[in-house]
Structures are given as C-alpha cells and as structure tokens.
C-alpha cells in the first residue's frame, strides 16, 4: 500500500553482502514491506551503511517525500547512529528513524531460510507500526567535564595519564599500591629487545610525578562512581600511609633506624622472597618516593610501645604521622580509563606441578625477581633449597593457560617471557634450559627472530605440555633432582627430565577484584573474566558504559607494546570525548502528563536517580529530565499511565508487540 495519510515510510532492507542475504530472502522481504500500510516505498541494497546506501535514504526523503525511515540491517547498537545521521542530513528529524535487526538477531542465528525470512518480515512489520507513533525529538546537550580519571598505575595507566597530561588535560591517577609501576616494575628484562624493564619504565614514572597536570593518589581505591558520561562523580578512598607525602623526601633514615634491625615481613615487591621492615619504601625507584608504615607490623601502631628511634631519625621534617586517617576525596571527571591490570595465576591448585610443595618449583614472576639485580638475591639465581646455582632448569609453558582445568584461553605472553627467561637463565648461570611447550606463539615484531636466536643459543625445546613435576627418583640420575615428565610429541615418547629448578610459565588472569570493579563502573566482563570491550575490532577500548574506556591487561592478556598502544588509544578516545566539551544524549527521558497524574506517589521511591519529586501544591509528580537517565521504570509502574518515556512510549511498544505478532 502506498503511503496514504500523513505517514510516508521508506523501508530499506540491507543484504550486508551475503551476511543477511544468504539466509533471508531480501527480495521477498522488500516486496512484502512495500505492501504494508503507510509504506511509501521499499528498497533493497547490498550495503546500506555504505555512502551510496545512505545516499538512497537522503534522496528518497527529498524526492519521495518520506517522513519515516526504517533500515533493516545489523544491530542498532552498531549502525543506528549512521542512519540517524543520514535521515537528519536530508532534513528529517533523526528520531523519525527506526532500525530493525535482521542480522545479529536473524540471519546469523537461524539456518532455515523460510523461517528467517518470515521473522525478518515480522520484525519489519512491527517497525512500520511502531514508527507511526514516532515524534520529532531533540537530543539533550550536556556539558562535559574536562578532567579524566585513570584507575590503575601500571604501565597502561601511566601511559594513558601521560598522554592526557601532555594534551593539557587534568588527570587523577589512582593506584591501590603505595607506588605506581605495576607488574612491569617487577620484570627484569623485556622481550624481545632485552631492555631492562625498570630502565624504560622509571622515566615514565618520574614524568607522572613531575607533571603538574597529574594528581597522583597511591594507597587509594575508587569506592563509588556516580553520574554518567561527561559528568562522573567519583569517590576515592585514600588509605593512611602514616607518612605525610608532602614532607617525606625518601631519605630512608627512618628505615635505617627502625627498631627492627633486619626485615621481618614478606616484601610484596619481591613476592615474599625477601623481607622488609614495618616502615619501608617499596623499591628504590618508587613513585612517590615516600616511605610508608605497615600498620599490621609496626609496633607503635599495634601496641604504642615502640622506642620511636625511627621517628627521631625523621627529625625536623616530622613526616611521620601516626594519627593519619583514611580520607575520602570526591572528584568530578568527564571520562574514566580503567587500567586495573591482571593477576598472575597462582599454580598451587595444579597439584601435579608441585608448586608450594616442592621448594625449587618457582613461578615465572618469582624468577623475574631472582634474576633482577635489585631483587632478593641481588640478581643471583639460586635455589630456595640450598642456595646453589641450578645447573639445569625446566620451563613449563601454558601453566593455567590453554587448560580446561584453569583457563581455556592463551595468555599470549608466556611463550615470549619463557624464551626471555631461558635466555637470561642461561646467560647468568650457564645452566642447561629445557622449554616444554605446546606451540610456540611468537607473534609480535621481532618475536620469531628472538625464538630463532634462542634455538641457536642451545636452549632445548621439547614439544609437549609438562605433565608432572616430582622429586621421586626412578633412576640414579634422577636422585636429588626434580623430574619433569613430558610427552615429547615430536619423538612420540614420554621423557623424564631431571633438573635442579622448575619454572612455571603462569597464566595471566583477571584481577581478583574484577567483578567488583566491573560493577562499580557499570561495565561488563567477557566469559574469561576480563573486561569486555564494546566491539572486539572496532571499539576495542570502549565499553558499554559511555565515557568509560579500557587500557591494558584488564581487558585481556597482552604484552607491553600492545598495552602501551591500547593505553594511547584509550587516552585518545577520552580526549576526543572531553575536547568536544558538549555531548548529545539520547532523548529517552520520562515526563509526567499532569492531567493524568493522580498524585499517588508510586513512582517517587522507584527512581534510582531521585529524579522524581512531588509538586506539593498541585499534588503531582514532577520529573527532572536532567537527572532522568531513561530507564523507564517509573513509566511501567504508573497506575494511571501518566508517565511517558520518549522513544519508548506505551503506544510505540504496544504497536511493536501488535505488529510483530500479527498473522500474515
């Protein structure tokens, strides 16, 4: 039926190459749509999102006097914007547009061509009935705050903060530990170039400290996030470090004069492989270079019975403050970059590898520390059991990765860091090194070359996943050794390799608090526990929460080059957002029709944003559309149907229901 009354709908059905057309009979759907009430014309096109596709819409609005546009193509979450723009470009209000999802919700999930075609028709019919009730709307224009919050001070957070600061933006960098640096600060060398990790990271760390555009809060946690894109209100809790940051110069005198003459408490930076005092600086290059006191260890803080020699040592500076309390800071920012990193997989549950039971089985991260000149042994790789240099070392790849019992995914960096550790171990100790691997994944720039170099250095490669580590000798040559059993899949036989030390190439997994963080920022996790990006290819640093971006390993395991690149991308996205200064918000707010409101107050307590108040004089509910986020809860609850939500009015939804269910 040609559009008769006032409503003239144009329906455009997209082939999406063959993505839709292979399963949905696009031609039949188009012919069907043509005959629907109020439809002035229907067209099919290979790629509606292409320029010529959009041009079709523009031309038809102009020449065929369309006043409603429907595009049946992919998900509105992907291309609604595109087509609203096209609609608007032809002078029609953008909200006279409706998108129908016949790809993600239809052609890609169904096999039966006939049924998929029927479904596509149903969905389009529903849209033609819904769109009759559409009205012209104006997007809400809101100001965007220019500050950015970066959560997590590893290399991702550091890079993002520095990029934004360089662009003149104010950044709050919040780190839960006492120093920034993250995991990268713990590594010895980085693959494949073998630069000293700290040597390339430390200048960036000091640049953070030096930047007047960065407010750095260590020992701090984000505890609350309110608001939305452009206008987030964030509460940060700064835990006491019992040392006044502005007064301490990091001279270490307090540490020297501490009652404890030797370290007694596990040193977090060295993963407990060394001991520290109750008052300490995490490591020499720490930023801020400020001491802190561990309240669980400090005698004064626990019992008030310390001789206070260390306080005297601080002298006139008076930087030590036992009365320091946790402090809450509330900041307002326009964008947030989440860079909370990863957790190194703890291999204890994989009992067969003996970690935690057999002394000379180490995690890769522990070995990073042992190899490091500022590590617990001053860079001497010696065994826990007898302080002797190992003569043979086995590195087991994929511990916790590519494993049904732990994580199914590949952690991406373990092959490369295992090669690096093999090189460093060989260089430092001259030990024979065996790498037991499933596949070598040397995917990055210079990585394959590094692998070849290792092979020429005489590192042994055994293709097979390490099956077990035991100290039970079966032969003489195994006595006093750790024995790795592995199926050498190239030789097709089981081998038992006696070694002095075993290194487990542990997986990277989502942070321990990922679920909490996810909730706080209203973002999602993928099935592997890492944060979910908005689109795996085209919006890799965006999230479902507008204005919240991801950088680094919190989004998935990755190496340092990828982390830094992603951090730059996140900073770029944040910059694009805040530099616009204003943004357009979806006009999907709710409002009250005064005449219908009975003043029953049902809606008042339902609004999670306190956007609804009561006009005492009139005894009517009033919605503040600035505070309303458009969830529609009040609309659904109003017994008098006095509340209406734009873009989702009752009339629109009822027509959609009716249209989709209607018999042909």
């Amino acid at each position: 039926m040609r559009g008769n009354g006032d409503v003239r709908i144009g329906v455009y059905v997209c082939h999406c190459g063959s993505n839709i057309a292979a399963t949905v009979d696009v031609e039949a759907v188009t012919r069907y749509a043509e005959e629907l009430p109020n439809v002035a014309l229907a067209r099919e096109y290979k790629y509606m999102c292409s320029d010529p596709g959009q041009e079709l819409i523009r031309k038809d609005i102009d020449e065929n006097k369309l006043n409603r546009v429907i595009v049946a193509a992919c998900s509105p979450l992907l291309h609604e914007h595109t087509f609203r723009h096209a609609t608007e470009a032809a002078g029609l209000n953008a909200y006279y547009f409706q998108m129908v999802n016949i790809r993600e919700h239809c052609s890609w999930v169904h096999d039966d061509r006939e049924r998929a075609t029927t479904k596509a028709k149903d969905l389009i019919r529903a849209a033609t009935m819904r769109i009759v009730h559409h009205e012209a709307l104006e997007p809400r224009k809101v100001a965007i705050r220019p500050e950015v919050l970066v959560v997590g001070g590893g290399v991702a957070g550091i890079q993002a903060a520095l990029t934004l600061a360089a662009a003149g933006k104010h950044v709050y960098l919040v780190e839960k530990d006492a120093t920034i640096g993250g995991h990268m600060a713990k590594f010895d060398k980085t693959f494949p170039t073998l630069d000293c990790s700290m040597c390339i990271l430390a200048p960036k760390m000091t640049a953070v400290k030096a930047s007047k555009n960065i407010t750095l809060w260590t020992c701090s946690d984000v505890t609350r996030v309110e608001g939305y894109v452009g206008n987030f209100k964030v509460t940060v809790r700064r835990r006491p470090r019992y040392v006044i940051e502005d007064l301490c110069v990091g001279c270490s005198r307090c540490i020297d004069e501490c009652l404890f003459k030797e370290g007694k408490f596990p040193d977090e930076w060295n993963l407990g492989l060394s001991k520290r005092k109750p008052v300490y600086i995490p490591f020499p290059q720490a930023v801020p270079p400020v001491a802190l006191i561990d309240p669980a260890a400090c005698i004064q803080l626990k019992t008030v019975k310390c001789k206070m020699t260390f306080v005297e040592a601080c002298g006139e500076r008076k930087a030590i403050d036992f009365d320091q309390k946790a402090e809450e800071k509330v900041i307002e920012v326009g964008a947030i970059i989440v860079a909370t990193g990863f957790r190194a997989y703890d291999p204890t549950p994989l009992n067969r590898y003996g970690y935690g039971r057999l002394k000379d089985v180490y995690t890769a991260l522990e070995v990073e520390r042992l190899l490091n000149a500022s590590g617990p042994t001053g860079g001497n790789l010696v065994r826990r059991s007898d302080n002797a240099k190992p003569k043979s070392v086995a590195i087991l790849h994929c511990v916790g990765s590519r494993d049904e019992n732990a994580h199914i995914y590949c952690s991406r960096v373990c092959c490369m860091y295992s090669l690096k550790l093999a090189h460093l171990i060989k260089e430092k100790t001259g030990a024979e090194v065996f790498n037991c691997y499933i596949d070598i994944r040397a995917f990055g720039k210079g990585y394959e070359e590094f692998y070849r170099r290792l092979m020429s250095e005489g590192v042994q490669f055994i293709r097979g996943k390490g099956a077990e580590v035991t100290d039970v000798a079966e032969e003489l040559r195994e006595r006093g050794k750790l024995v790795v059993s592995v199926e050498d899949t190239l030789l097709s036989r089981i081998r038992r390799i006696p070694v002095d030390m075993v290194v487990l190439a542990q997986a990277l997994e989502a942070g321990a608090d990922a679920a909490e963080v996810r909730r706080m920022f209203n973002i999602s996790c993928s099935a592997d526990g890492f944060f979910l990006e908005k689109h795996p290819k085209l919006a890799p640093v965006n999230t479902v929460a507008d204005g919240v971006f991801l950088a680094g390993c919190c989004q998935g395991a990755k190496d340092i080059p990828d982390t830094v690149a992603q951090a730059g991308a996140a900073a770029g996205e944040a910059l694009a957002l805040i530099d616009a200064q204003f943004m357009m918000m979806e006009p999907n707010t709710a409002s009250v029709t005064e005449d219908l409101c009975s003043g029953c107050r049902t809606c008042l307590p339902l609004c999670p944003y306190q956007a609804i108040t009561r006009d005492e004089q009139k005894n009517k509910a009033v919605i503040n559309e600035v505070l309303c986020k458009g969830c529609g809860t009040c609309v659904a609850s109003c017994p008098s149907a006095a509340i209406s939500q734009k873009l989702f009015t009752d009339a629109q939804i009822f027509s959609e229901i009716q249209g989709v269910m209607m018999h042909e």
Binding site: E104, H105, A126, G632, S637, A651, E656, M661
Partner: protein
Amino acid sequence: MSEPKILAFFCNWCTYTAADLAGTSRMKYAANVRVVRMMCSGRLDPQFVLQAFKEGADGVLIGGCHPNDCHYIEGNYKALRRMTLLKRMMESMGIEKARVRLEWISASEGLKLQEVVNEMTEQLKKLPPMSRMEPTQVAHP
C-alpha cells in the same frame, strides 16, 4: 503443535547485547523468538506481556541484567517484583505460568541466550495449545 511464538523483551545493556553476541558468534537457535528492545527490564509493564499473549504469543521471555548489574542500578529488581503480580494475573486468566520466563543474561552470555531460547521453545511445544480471544484492536493510552 505448530511452532510456538515467543515474544522477548530484552534490556538494551545486557540481554540485547548478549543476543547480538550470539549473532556475531553465529550461535544457532530456534527461529521462534522475536525481540523487542527496551532500555531496561524495569520498563516492562505487565500489560506488555498480557498484550503479547492477546496478540498471539505462546510465550514471553524477559531478559535483563544479572542482579546488581542493571545499568540503571535496580530496574531488574523492579521487573522481578512485577513478575509475581503478573503470574497471578496470568493464572486467573487461565494462562500457564510457564509461558512467561524472566532470565538474567549478561552481555557476555550469548551461550545462555541460545540455551534459554531453545529450551523455552521446546517447553512451549509440550504445553497444550493456548486458547485465547480473537485479537482485537487495542486502544492505546
């Protein structure tokens, strides 16, 4: 019976996205379902469900974010609360409770979406056919 028709109301942030994910992952599921998008499951007016049955739906599936995960803080709880009343109304109208289902499906749970749709389709096939009045034109408020 013939193929049952399921009308689904999915919230934009979790379940609709999960359905998109099922699509991009090419997970196949029963072609019996039709999705109506809403911003939040809290927008679900029980009348929508009754209307769906009136118009010929054999089942109604409501999908929202997991508890504590609603994009609008607690819309999903509001939806859950309305279900009790809704099911009572359905019973008094002679509609089996099993015809309506509320599921929490997060953006990453494409697989769960596939399973729920397939399972519900099978379950509906086992129910006796629904008797209903002739669909009439609804008056919109």
